[in-house]
Subunit: 483 residues, 2 copies
């Protein structure tokens, strides 16, 4: 083994030992660990934001909001594990009268073991070192080994120091949380026998490569990847007629937010042909300043992606310029306009994600053509339809629910609330999974069920003991009951 | 496309259309479909059992019980979808006071789409054409395409006819259920773009090959495979002293049940050295008749597997003979005895599943050695510890919970109750999944979440409408509430 390999093994072995301790720790204690991490992030927000702004150029206001979101996520998971439904406790008492007789059987979810978390470039807090994957894994009692993103190395180090300090102070076991860096460490981590699941947020090629590693292990492990998303938006004729300028202003704000580097950026906008919406959007977008890109690689890929769209016959540029020579000053907004007919001819080129402040207006002739072109859109995190009250959009809504994990009725997809009902996921390539990476149910990714048959009361996990000492919701003999 | 490919595409396209209809069908109607299938199986039990006995030699009593189990499974899923918790409905009302304000968000689980089901040789009803995978997929509104097992082709055809007849009679859509045969059809099915998930019960090599196909698709799909399991049993000194003959009799019954062709067969039995348990087991096993094997391939693999164990130095044969020349009369019970020390030297050969009426007694010197040898046992569906009241077995139980999906405290693993709390799954290679293939929660395998943001009431699925018209349990603003 090389020194790097030895070091990684040391880290993952420590994570395995810490996971065993965390799994045996009461929920109330683990909730305290999460709250300690939340508190230390808030207390050091100013320092972290300054560091993040130097490395990501995302701006202080946005970054301060993201720290609050991140500590809020940790506090949500503290509530989730305290409430206890996340354990999915089910008790079926023995039934000697059944044919054949059935034993006493009690099921609960238990932590999987050490989780590898790959942090994202575009959310240096909320989807990074102490982000949602880390929070949900720690919550259920899994150790976490984070692979730092190369786009914000100093911030990653500093955040990791603070997380480790908070966990130590709260009495969490040594090795429960660690940070590794570098591409080689990342690939080794996914293949490490001690690692039992992976959380990933990033690009389709990067995510697919790691997914392939995870599933080709001698013992395949779950890979929860959030990879890429076009986030289609459908505007109706009536909506544009009633609120055209307002929609244009909202769309301009959404597709340029964070210089268009959001996984929920609206990348495709379907609208009826023959409206003045493009002109309204041009007016609204011109006010938007150029924004610095997160990394050199993303900055270089942006004009390439733009050229990929612009060189398709039948595609017009209605806002900005594909020639982004002034990129040193940041990426400027670019809007394309084309027809559904052109998408039918060049689906691969026009239905490809372009990370940055750009979107494609696609004009449809009628509802029938709209349905046909939506059928080509790959799986997305979100899909939006904006219509006037009373319009019949049931068929559109149904189609959007088939291609995305979150369907919006008006509004813009770039806000992702962190709560119990959130689903941030969707069919491939939006994610590799049937789970969310944001919100309370993200916890289920890092748990596995165990059923205890005819167990003595003293050997049952507390969640399954007869008198319900944790006072959690449980299903008993088929009936869901509240404490 | 070849004719066979065209035919398969025809079937999967019909399944996709039927899935869309089933997804939009009320739970109460789909429950009727399940009950109709259950009723037709029960009504034709005698004919089906006779056909199954000809093809599998499993015996009429066992097969009649299995039909009842299968119709019981269908009825359980009818109750599950009627109760409604399986939809995991969550509502978070808008909160304009939050920073930033949060929208109205409502999450529900929706069916994935057409599911491919690979039936098993060893349970021609309960894990076959109308078995648990089919029942749970139909329950949530997914069409099913079953790949018949080559071990019981006529039974598969006849069962499929009856299922189709029942579904037609109950008003289910055309194409909701179909049957295909042959290895080529099976591999094509896993790669078919219309198929959205796979349920599989079978061998490790066969399951791994199909798993690899499922995850290497351009759009990877979930593969829920139940592959192989050693089902370790730990007996303590005190248990053997107190109940040695009873334990021997129970074990003999369990490892020879169905000629040892159960995925939950106890294949490894850990016991303290220096007891007379082997002699007691020999006495109890000698009474067990030879049993016909399910297929020629399984019959040929059995003596090969036995030789694989017998030729390890330090392994004794304490019951039966490795030389199974009289296999025409069926497979006879064989018991091996060895030491934990021998397992440390030859883990690969002794910790390999041997399908058939055989088990391996492994003698441990002390608890410390027991823990070390258990650490080598691969993931299993079940693990059992049998001790006397008052013995300290907490560490053993905890270790077993780490390696299996169901932990038994006494009794034998070969009975698998079908109820709400059951978990029939476990770490690789027991399964490829964090889900069960038996019991109520199996339904979650074929569902994906969708969140509706700011949706007009009329466009929400009924499960999410404000007044809870389905009267199902839901979580509202973080609080789980019963109807």
């Amino acid at each position: 083994m090389s020194t790097a390999q030895l070091e990684l093994t040391h880290i993952t072995q420590a994570a395995a030992r810490a996971s065993a301790i965390a799994a045996a720790t009461p929920d109330a204690r683990r909730a305290e660990w999460l709250l300690a991490v939340a508190d230390i992030l808030d207390a050091n927000s100013a320092e972290l934001v300054a560091l993040a702004d130097e490395e990501t150029h995302l701006g202080e206001a946005r970054l301060a909001g993201e720290v609050a979101r991140t500590s809020g996520q940790l506090r949500l998971f503290a509530r989730v594990i305290t409430e206890g439904s996340y354990l999915e406790a089910i008790i079926d008492h023995a039934n000697p009268a059944a044919v054949p007789p059935t034993p006493d059987l009690r099921r609960v979810l238990r932590p999987l073991g050490p989780v590898a978390v790959f942090s994202a470039s575009n959310f240096p807090f909320a989807f990074s070192v102490a982000g949602g994957d880390t929070a949900s894994a720690l919550a259920v009692g899994c150790a976490v080994v984070v692979k730092a993103h190369s786009g914000h190395p100093r911030l990653s180090e500093r955040t990791a120091e603070l997380v480790a300090e908070a966990l130590r102070g709260a009495g969490a076991p040594e090795g429960l949380f660690s940070l590794v860096s570098g591409r080689d460490a990342g690939t080794a981590l996914v293949q490490d026998p001690a690692i039992k699941a992976v959380g990933f947020t990033g690009s389709i090629p990067g995510g697919r490569a790691l997914f392939d590693l995870a599933v080709s292990r001698p013992d395949p492990i779950p890979f929860y990847g959030e990879l890429g998303s076009l986030n289609p938006v459908v505007l109706t004729q009536a909506a544009i007629e009633a609120r055209g300028a307002e929609l244009a202003s909202g769309l301009a704000g959404s597709f340029t937010l964070g210089a268009g580097q959001f996984c929920t950026k609206p990348g495709l906008v379907f609208l009826p042909e023959g409206t003045d919406f493009a002109a309204l959007l041009a007016a609204a977008s011109r006010e938007k300043p150029a924004g610095a890109m997160l990394t050199d690689r993303i900055a270089e890929a942006y004009p390439e992606g733009l050229r990929g769209h612009a060189t398709v016959p039948g595609v017009d540029v209605v806002v900005g310029s594909v020639d982004q020579r002034a990129l040193a000053e940041g990426a400027a907004p670019v809007v394309f306009r084309t027809s559904a007919a052109t998408v039918f001819e060049h689906p691969d080129r026009l239905l490809e994600e372009c990370f940055g402040p750009t979107t494609v207006l696609i004009e449809y002739q009628d509802r029938e053509e709209l349905h046909r072109v939506l059928a080509l859109v790959p799986g997305s995190l979100t899909a939006t339809v904006d219509a006037e009250p009373g319009e019949d959009i049931q068929a559109v809504a149904e189609q959007l629910a088939g291609l995305a994990g979150r369907v919006l009725f008006g509004g813009w997809p770039t806000g992702v609330a962190v709560n119990w009902a959130q689903h941030h996921g969707g069919p491939w390539p939006a994610t590799t999974s049937l789970f969310t990476s944001v919100g309370a149910t993200a916890a289920r990714r890092f748990q596995r069920p165990v059923a205890y048959q005819d167990a003595p009361e003293a050997l049952l996990p507390e969640a399954l003991r007869e008198e319900n000492p944790l006072r959690i919701p449980r299903r008993v003999d088929g009936v869901l009951s509240l404490p």
